[in-house]
């Protein structure tokens, strides 16, 4: 007997379903179901993934949702057609976004007093019956399970009230669209309820519908469902009692099993296929449309785009060369054919708006391949100059998995913080009220957070879980120890009666969605209302709405997304240009001289602290080996230090080949002639994603659509099955073309290593441009650049203290904070001198700091007394300024200032402020306090400002460390020498690809010493390494091509209180 499942929940029901949509689709196919409907609670977040997975598995995916009603019952609804789907989205969106009166709502259910109430922003729908009635068209209602209106009423108040509940559903949905749902979960006593439902349906002439009430894919997932129940009810497995499921029967059953289970009600089973046949809607029929771009009267979008593109090209190039004109025409023609003109105009408009607002903007991603994007001012890389291929950005063959043209990928980098927020608000405003939304970010169960939640449900004590978390301090970096071993370290022995369950659940729950967050910058826009396409809900940030789908889902379903990403470096660059302009040395990003030898020289000696992308430890280690000498080299440099290429053993060949240590070959002699044109620029190494795709198209005859699917699969981190499938297709196609196994192996290995980390060439070039620009500024405008970096902390890899020390080593004078000279921000006082801003003073309010600068602008401070009288400072702020030396211009020394500020009026003694000074000319009383020593000043600098403009703290303790080598002296040591280094920890890194090796950077007064720690030593000294602010390390020196490391053998805490705990950049 045919049967399809029309009531299933996934883990996107958040604590009410225990399997991923993919697992459900796979299990449905395994059980021989031809179709299945996913009805997640109050949302459609899992629907896109289910749609994709079900399509792959050959199962028809139907769409619906369980909607929580204001009376606390839950109504399952199925979308019969596009109207129904639109109504469902609008119903959920409206119910979620409409404020609910907390007083009129029912009290939280007894079994869950912690359930989110009507006042919570992230609450269930709590839809009213009026809202349901207003959106009933096109929807089919089921009476639901034990939480459904009918069974809930029967259980609480008996048959008569249940009959009334059914009558109400009948009035709202009509007899044609209402099904009395029956479920059998093999629980004793359920027959009585089924008999009632059977009789009720017969009495009302309504069809019975058998469903599984599925909450997980297979019986093995039941423990996860029980744990979720505990998390939802804030209890433990031991205390949950009958609130846990009675058995493991809410999994997907085969048609045969369901026919057997409902042998007495065969019509209820047969009805499933009849109803499913009525459900026309699938996600293919979303009806998404990109918004129109308003054009002047009489002008089409195509004409407008052509006009602004050519105007832009003229503005960029002056005289437009014929080659560029031809390229632009070619691109514009294709853009018009694919119907993307409006999209380009909207992105152009955002960039134009940003520039008008004085906000730096630069497109990244494959848009850099487009001359049109360059002409429109969307990207900064000139594709003709760098010989970038437009087809990599846009081609007629680029279609999504459903056959729709795939939207071009344009991401915009903006200065982080307030400027980016202004642009986001513009997009919201342009498409108000519901035409724009941020995409969701699916937060999943992972790492120690998952252990904590499972541990709580299993009844492990807080202290044990705290210990586990403390041992994993520094984040969820890749682990070398398996979970059971780590649990043992935390005091949960392997033979603990619940250790097995904890480890198993941890494995099962990995990657299941935990909650929906907001993506950092991904915005989707649509024509008209986005809530016709997907439900929207409140973001945690007030005033924002967020879609229930994440960016991958949106891309899969052909919904256009614009990533408005905040980059700290963009903000710093913008500020550098501004400062330069104010100092009469104007500059802009496009005007930075290309191919500057001094800039490349700095890169080649890894003198890159503070610059974009190539400042990390790993980047600095490979810079002297790759020795970039042009922008393309920098793009390669950016791309090689990625987990992908290292896994694929591809980074080192590139460096070896550049240095002539390895011959340049092109995959295999049999395909030399085909691969060479693609890989010539990277010396035969597959480095960029585009090369991967071109190879697939050239060597395996992949179509544009297949290549696009491969690209998506490689970027889709959540679904390894999808990648495996795409790889299998690639290998099959390669073999079908007669490629030998060496070629198949190389290509498939490369594709695998690219997954999740693959770096498109154009993207690398966009980043390379920023890396080049920032290095150029560090070399040629060091003062402006340093001031800007300091004003945009935290950003980048290093803290202010390291940046300042690095600048000092480059001959820059960094002057201390001073109320007589400092502005709120750090400023440039000369080409080689930076004045730290008042913002560096911990505890000083911005209004107070700006008040000081404003008062000084009025007239200079004549004395400390004058300063105190004219600045609205709190006592703590006065002390902070004095201790940091910011009042030294007005007092003999810091302690004298401290002595004097204490004598000023106290907070609240405002009358004194207004009173004239007794004698303005009288010198202040001499301080009885002694001046600070050098060590005291350094300490006060770090405590008060986080940086010192004086000696590095390590210089103060150097005399006590006769055996420790200074960082700069390491170049003099012999390879293999056993020596000791010491310093403040400024970075701890454990890259996923480094097989458990840890890299620690120690800063001293001369520079940075890099230390490599073996996994075994790390595990032995884990707490010392992760907890101590300064270390002393003894080990063997390794010097490879000028890249120096100390391979640690002994690691100890330095134990010098003079070395303060700086901000270390850990485990990123």
């Amino acid at each position: 007997m045919p049967y399809v499942e029309l009531h299933a929940r996934s883990a996107f029901s958040f604590l009410r379903g225990a399997s991923s949509p993919e697992a459900l689709a796979e299990a449905a196919a395994a059980q021989g179901l031809a179709a299945m409907a996913l009805l997640d609670r109050d949302g459609l977040a899992g629907v896109p993934r289910f749609h994709g997975a079900a399509g792959d598995a050959g199962v028809r995916a139907r769409v619906g949702a369980e909607v929580t009603l204001a009376d606390g019952t839950v109504l399952p609804l199925l979308a019969a057609n596009r109207t129904g789907y639109r109504n469902l989205c609008r119903l959920i969106t409206g119910a979620k976004l409409t404020p609910r009166d907390a007083l009129s709502a029912p009290p939280p259910p007894e079994e869950n007093p912690h359930a989110p109430g009507p006042g919570d922003r992230k609450r269930p729908c709590l839809a009213t019956w009026e809202e349901v009635a207003a959106h009933a068209e096109g929807l089919v209602a089921l009476t639901g399970d034990e939480e459904g209106p009918v069974r809930h009423a029967w259980r609480r108040a008996g048959a008569a009230v249940a009959g009334e509940a059914l009558a109400r559903l009948e009035r709202v949905f009509g007899r044609a669209n209402l099904y009395v749902e029956v479920q059998r979960h093999r629980r004793r006593g359920e027959e009585r309820e089924i008999a009632f439902l059977r009789d009720l349906a017969a009495a009302r002439g309504l069809p019975l519908l058998a469903t599984g009430g599925v909450a997980y894919a297979t019986p093995a997932d039941r423990p996860v469902a029980d744990v979720f129940t505990c998390l939802r009810l804030h209890t433990t497995l031991d205390a949950a009692g009958r609130r846990l499921s009675a058995n493991a029967q809410r999994h997907i059953h085969s048609p045969t099993a369901m026919a057997e289970r409902f042998a007495d009600l065969p019509a209820a089973v047969e009805e499933t296929t009849r109803l499913e046949a009525r459900l026309e809607f699938t996600l293919r029929d979303l009806g998404y449309r990109f918004p129109d771009f308003p054009t002047p009267p009489g002008k089409t979008v195509e004409e407008l785009l052509r006009e602004v593109t050519h105007a832009g090209a003229r503005a960029r190039h002056g005289t437009v060369p014929p080659a560029l004109t031809a390229q632009l025409e070619r691109e514009l023609a294709l853009i018009a054919r694919l119907g993307f003109c409006g999209y380009f105009l909207i992105v152009w408009d955002i960039c134009r708006h940003a520039r008008e607002q004085g906000i730096l903007v630069q497109g990244r991603g494959s848009a850099a391949n487009s001359a049109a994007c360059h002409a429109l001012g969307i990207t900064a890389v000139d594709p003709l100059r760098h010989r970038l291929l437009f087809e990599r950005f846009l081609s007629e063959g680029r279609v999504g998995r459903d056959g729709r043209p795939s939207w071009p990928d344009i991401d915009l980098d903006l200065p982080s913080g307030e400027p980016r927020e202004r642009i986001i608000q513009k997009v919201y405003a342009d498409h108000a009220p519901r035409g724009a939304a941020m995409t969701a970010n699916v937060i999943t169960y992972r790492g120690r957070g998952a252990v904590r939640e499972i541990g709580k449900a299993l009844g492990f004590g807080e202290d044990t879980l705290d210990r586990f978390s403390a041992l994993q301090a520094g984040g969820d970096f890749p682990e070398t120890l398996e979970l059971r071993r780590r649990l043992t370290l935390a005091g949960i022995p392997p033979d603990h009666p619940r250790a097995e369950a904890l480890a198993r659940l941890h494995r099962q729950m990995q990657g299941l969605p935990r909650h929906l967050g907001q993506h950092s910058g991904g915005m989707i826009i649509g024509h008209g209302r986005l809530d016709d396409i997907m439900p929207l809900e409140h973001a945690t940030m007030p005033g924002r709405v967020v879609a229930q789908w994440d960016k991958d889902d949106c891309e899969d379903l052909g919904i256009v997304k614009v990533d408005l990403l905040g980059l700290g470096m963009m903000a710093a660059l913008q500020e550098t240009f501004r400062i330069g302009g104010e100092r009469g040395r104007p500059l802009e990003l496009a005007a930075i001289p290309p191919d500057d030898p001094a800039t490349y020289a700095a890169m080649q000696r890894a003198d890159t602290i503070g610059v974009f992308q190539i400042e990390s430890r790993a980047q600095m280690a490979s810079l002297p080996r790759l020795r970039p000498a042009c922008l393309y080299d920098v793009a390669m440099q950016v791309a090689i230090v990625r987990p992908g290429p290292i896994v694929g053993h591809l980074a080192h060949p590139l460096i070896r080949r550049r240095n002539g240590l390895e011959p340049v070959t092109y995959i295999d002699p049999s395909v030399d002639h085909l691969a060479e044109p693609i890989l010539r620029r990277t010396l035969g190494v597959i480095l960029f994603q585009e090369q991967m795709l071109e190879l697939a198209m050239t060597l395996a005859d992949f179509t544009g659509a297949e290549a696009e699917e491969l690209r998506r699969a490689m970027g889709f981190t959540k679904d390894t099955v999808r990648l495996q499938r795409a790889l299998a297709r690639l290998c099959a196609a390669l073999r079908a073309k007669g490629r030998n196994e060496a070629v198949v192996k190389r290509i498939s290995e490369s594709a695998l290593s690219f997954a999740a980390y693959g770096f498109p060439e154009s993207h690398a070039l966009s980043f390379a441009l920023l890396a080049y620009a920032s290095t150029w500024l560090k070399v040629h405008r060091p003062a402006e650049f340093l001031a800007s970096l300091l004003n945009h902390q935290p950003m980048g890899f290093y803290g202010p203290a390291t940046l300042v020390q690095d600048a000092r080593r480059h001959g820059l004078r960094v002057r201390p904070v001073c109320v007589a000279a400092s502005a709120w921000d750090s400023t440039v006082e000369a080409d080689d001198a930076v004045r730290l801003g008042l913002r560096q003073v911990n505890g000083l309010r911005e209004t107070a700091g700006r008040g000081i600068a404003a008062a000084r602008t009025e007239r200079p401070f004549t004395s400390l007394d004058d300063f105190l009288r004219r600045t609205p400072l709190q006592a703590a702020e006065r002390r902070a300024l004095a201790a940091a030396g910011a009042l030294n211009a007005l007092a003999p020394h810091r302690r004298a200032a401290l002595w004097q500020v204490e004598a000023a009026w106290k907070d609240g003694d405002e009358l004194f402020r207004a009173a004239p000074a007794a004698d303005e000319t009288a010198p202040p009383a001499e301080s009885p306090l002694a001046a600070m020593s050098l060590a005291e000043r350094v300490r006060a600098d770090f405590d008060g400002t986080g940086v010192t403009t004086g000696a590095h703290p390590m210089a103060l303790v150097r005399a006590r460390l006769p055996e420790a080598w200074r960082a700069t002296d390491l170049t003099l040591a012999e390879e293999g020498a056993r020596l000791t280094v010491a310093g403040a920890v400024i970075c701890r890194q454990r890259p996923g690809t480094a097989k458990g090796f840890l890299f620690v950077s120690l800063e001293d007064e001369t520079g940075i010493a890099n230390v490599v720690v073996t996994p075994q030593l790390f595990e032995e000294r884990r707490l010392v390494i992760t907890q101590e602010p300064a270390l002393r390390v003894t080990g063997r020196l390794q010097n490879r091509h000028g890249v120096i490391h100390v391979k640690a053998e002994v690691i100890e805490a330095l134990g010098e209180p003079a070395v303060p705990a700086g901000a270390s950049h850990d485990f990123h």
Binding site: A246, N247, A501, A882, A925, P928, L1023, T1026
Partner: protein, 489 residues
């Protein structure tokens, strides 16, 4: 003249003396059990390993892997505090409970020549009792405290040249108010001598009345009347054990601590013990209590401990001990006539006592009112303590119980089944009591739970079967075996 007995890191030592901890093992006290807790004190071995106040637990363990981590224990502190006061009361009649681990004795009028020796003896006594105390003797209580704080354990410091004594002391010694600490630190004022050099008027202008008071303390402060601690009236000691104990040694360790302190308190008020009542709290069931009448009143801790030891050696409790209490009946030495027919036995009365006897007969875990357990597993009950009042009736459920009552076989009858070919339903059933052809089957119904722990896990599948010869039974499959669980009426 005042004397101060002072125990540095008092909360740590109070905890350490409450159990038989190895003094050579590094130990540290944290300010709580939470994840943010930090070291507040470490013993000498801990300090030697680099454990200093302010470290988090991971940092401390990083420096010293063998570190024993302790949390504050108010009960242990109370016990230790009582001991310090009792020691001080043996030094002078007027004693102040100045702070935890600090007792001040007013020695004005005492023979100056004997003061030092008496203070040294008191410190030594405390040291032997697990509290490394130092003593200070000086003109003012504050100065005496500073003197004690600057002394090594067991030593006595007498302050004659106050200025020379005070000058090198750290500023913290004068207990500056928290608000002034960062100000003084920023000024670089680290010693009382440095504070002393600051002009008093300027200091007052800057630091106000609090600064003035601080300056006074930096000069040694003035004599003041002590807040006299009343002599003890009740002679009781209690202790809750962190882990239940089942052996004699830890109990004797604690009882030695008790008797030392109680004997000291008795001596301070010129009394002796006429009787002892020892109460033990057990992990399960009622506690154990025993009253001893001593042959004669005594304040000798060894005699008191011996009486307890003799009893405990022959005692067997049903469960591990979780806490103990010792009450001393005080008496004037040799002034009380023992009763002619008094016995050491107590007569148990009332409901609680009866219950205790029943419990002793059937086992502590088998007494109470059976109630259905909160689980899907049928026929599971838990025992709840007898309710003091009759609970109100529950409201009528919307649906009355359904189906005939089940008469359970306890234990369930093992059964053997025969299945017809090609059918998963049983066709014939045998048990030791009956057998017959199965005429009808209804089911199955499945239930399972406790999957998270091997010894709790259960799974059962049940059917209702009607036999052709009559009879309606519940068939159960559990643990890979078949049973008839019961018969329907």
């Amino acid at each position: 003249m005042f004397a101060v007995l002072h125990i540095a890191d008092f909360p740590l030592h109070a905890v350490l003396r409450s159990g038989p901890f190895d003094p050579a093992r590094p130990a540290a006290l944290f300010d709580g059990n939470g994840k943010k807790s930090r070291v507040t004190a470490a013993n000498a071995a801990g300090r030697a390993a680099g454990v200093v106040p302010g470290l988090t637990a991971p940092q401390a363990v990083a420096r010293c892997a063998a570190l024993a981590i302790h949390a504050p224990r108010p009960a242990a502190e109370s016990e230790a505090r009582a001991l310090v006061l009792a020691t001080a009361l043996n030094l002078a009649p007027v004693v102040e409970d100045t702070a935890p681990g600090v007792a001040t004795a007013d020695l004005r009028g005492a023979d100056p020549a004997r003061v030092d020796a008496a203070a040294r003896a008191a410190a030594a006594y405390l040291g032997a009792a697990g509290l490394p105390a130092a003593a200070g003797v000086a003109r003012t209580p504050f100065l005496a405290l500073l003197a004690a704080e600057s002394s090594a354990p067991g030593a006595v410091t007498r302050v004659d040249d106050e200025t020379a004594f005070l000058a090198p002391l750290p500023i913290e010694a004068a207990a500056p108010p928290p608000a002034l600490v960062p100000v003084l630190a920023a000024w670089g004022v680290r010693t009382l001598g440095a504070l002393h050099t600051l002009p008093r008027a300027d200091l007052t202008a800057r630091l106000g009345a609090e600064g003035l008071a601080l300056a006074g303390r930096a000069r040694g402060d003035e004599p003041r009347p002590l807040r006299a601690h009343p002599p003890p009236r009740d002679f009781t000691a209690t202790h809750d054990l962190e882990e239940p104990v089942a052996t004699l040694e830890p109990l004797l360790f604690l009882l030695r601590r008790f008797t030392e302190r109680l004997a000291l308190e008795l001596r301070a008020v010129r009394l002796a013990a006429a009787g002892l009542t020892l109460t033990l709290r057990l992990e399960e069931g009622p506690g154990h209590a025993r009253t001893f009448r001593l042959p004669g009143p005594t304040a000798d801790p060894d005699i008191l401990l011996r009486a307890l030891h003799t009893h405990l050696e022959s005692l067997r409790t049903d469960a591990a001990i979780t806490g103990l209490r010792l009450d001393v009946e005080p008496a004037r030495p040799l002034e009380r006539q023992p009763g002619l027919f008094e016995t050491g036995l107590r007569d148990p009365h009332g409901f609680t006592d009866t219950l205790a006897r029943v419990s002793a007969l059937v086992g502590a875990g088998h007494v109470g009112t059976p109630q259905p357990a909160d689980t899907h597993r049928p026929d599971s009950t838990v025992l709840a303590p007898p309710a003091p009042v009759v609970p109100p009736p529950e409201p009528e459920p919307p649906h009355a119980p359904w189906g005939p009552p089940l008469r359970r076989f306890r234990p369930p009858l093992p059964a053997r089944l025969e299945f017809a070919a090609g059918d998963r339903r049983p066709s014939y059933v045998w048990t030791e009591r009956f057998a017959g052809e199965v005429a009808a089957v209804r089911g199955p119904w499945c239930a399972s739970g406790g999957w998270w722990q091997a010894d709790l896990a259960w799974s059962r599948t049940e059917w209702d079967i009607a036999l052709a010869g009559g009879g309606l039974y519940r068939l159960l499959r559990a643990d890979d075996a078949w049973f008839i669980e019961g018969e329907y009426d």
